[in-house]
Amino acid sequence: MSAVAELELQAMVLLRLGDRRFAILANQIAELVAPSRIHKFPHRTPLVEGVILRRGRIVPICEIAERLLGKRTSSRRFYLIVNRRYETHAEWVALPVTGECELIRAEITAASESDAPHVAGWISHDGEVIEVLELKALTSEQQVLPPPQTPFLVEASL
């Protein structure tokens, strides 16, 4: 591989969600942690399932399966904690994943206008074409319907 080609490869974490795999740029990942107690309290943001305590921080869990797979998934193997950039700063957000994660290097093909907003690009890996996720779109509500009248929540659970 030439030096030029090598420069175009980017480190990414492959995550599994149901029977699909997705990629996130490795520099957006804070850590991968085992599932822990989810704390829930009343709120009206459908995308947020609850929060976990991690290293003294309270980290929201964003349920991304519904957006990516079209259905929620109750099983989870890990939380992938990502650095989600907001306008002025970044915060940790936990993304539930259902299988092993893998660190790879791959070349990204840019997303086209017809791609969903949560698609930052595409990679080809192991004969599979995989979406590279755009965290900002994935963890904001621009893509979903207005909040329901009936609010969320309720009990704390393990």
Partner: protein, 177 residues
């Protein structure tokens, strides 16, 4: 990027809080925000009904000194299953009297973390932030977050109409037959 600076929890010397339950959920409020705690029974005679204001979570008003307070049903505010409220917090420097299930305990918090930005709706107004107590995460309510400016306008309008109707009734009642 100012990640470290912004996500570092706000450090407090120590703030006294009251942990209370609404609809089976635990919340915290700063003790300094609570002017008075009364049982529902003790206020039964002092509360007046307020109807058709358009603010469903407020069904009663209380007169305290020269102020009219709106009794906010905590379960309806948070969208929780209705439970019979037993206590009322009269919140300092607000027009809110909050109907709650009961007080869990008094305590103190030393750290208050801002509500993560992933939360994008009314909860940003409801809570000052989150605190971790005994390995649990408890939302710390914002005393000013129970009634929006729009809701206060609706409630004031309803009060005015009620007063006008009462005056009219008195006037009609006082006219000679």
């Amino acid at each position: 990027m100012s990640l470290a600076a912004r996500t570092k929890p706000q450090t407090l010397k120590s703030e006294q809080i009251i942990l209370f339950r609404v609809g089976g959920n635990l919340f915290a409020v700063s003790s300094a925000s609570v002017q008075e705690v009364r049982s529902v029974d003790s206020l039964a005679g002092a509360a007046a009904e307020i109807k058709d204001s358009g603010v469903r979570k407020v069904r009663h008003v209380l007169q305290r000194d020269d102020k009219t307070l709106f009794v906010v049903n905590g379960t309806m505010h948070f969208g929780l299953p209705l439970t019979p409220g037993t206590l009322i917090f009269i919140l300092r420097q607000t027009r809110t009297a909050l109907l709650i299930d009961g007080i869990e305990k008094m305590g103190s918090m030393t750290r208050l973390q801002a509500l993560p930005l992933a939360f994008q709706h009314e909860e940003r107004h409801w809570y000052r932030g989150l605190t971790a107590l005994d390995q649990s995460v408890v939302p710390v309510v914002n005393p000013e977050g129970f009634l929006t400016a729009e809701e206060l306008v609706l409630l004031e309008q309803s009060l005015s109409l009620r007063s006008a109707a009462a005056r009219e009734t008195r006037t009609q009642g006082g006219q000679p037959q």
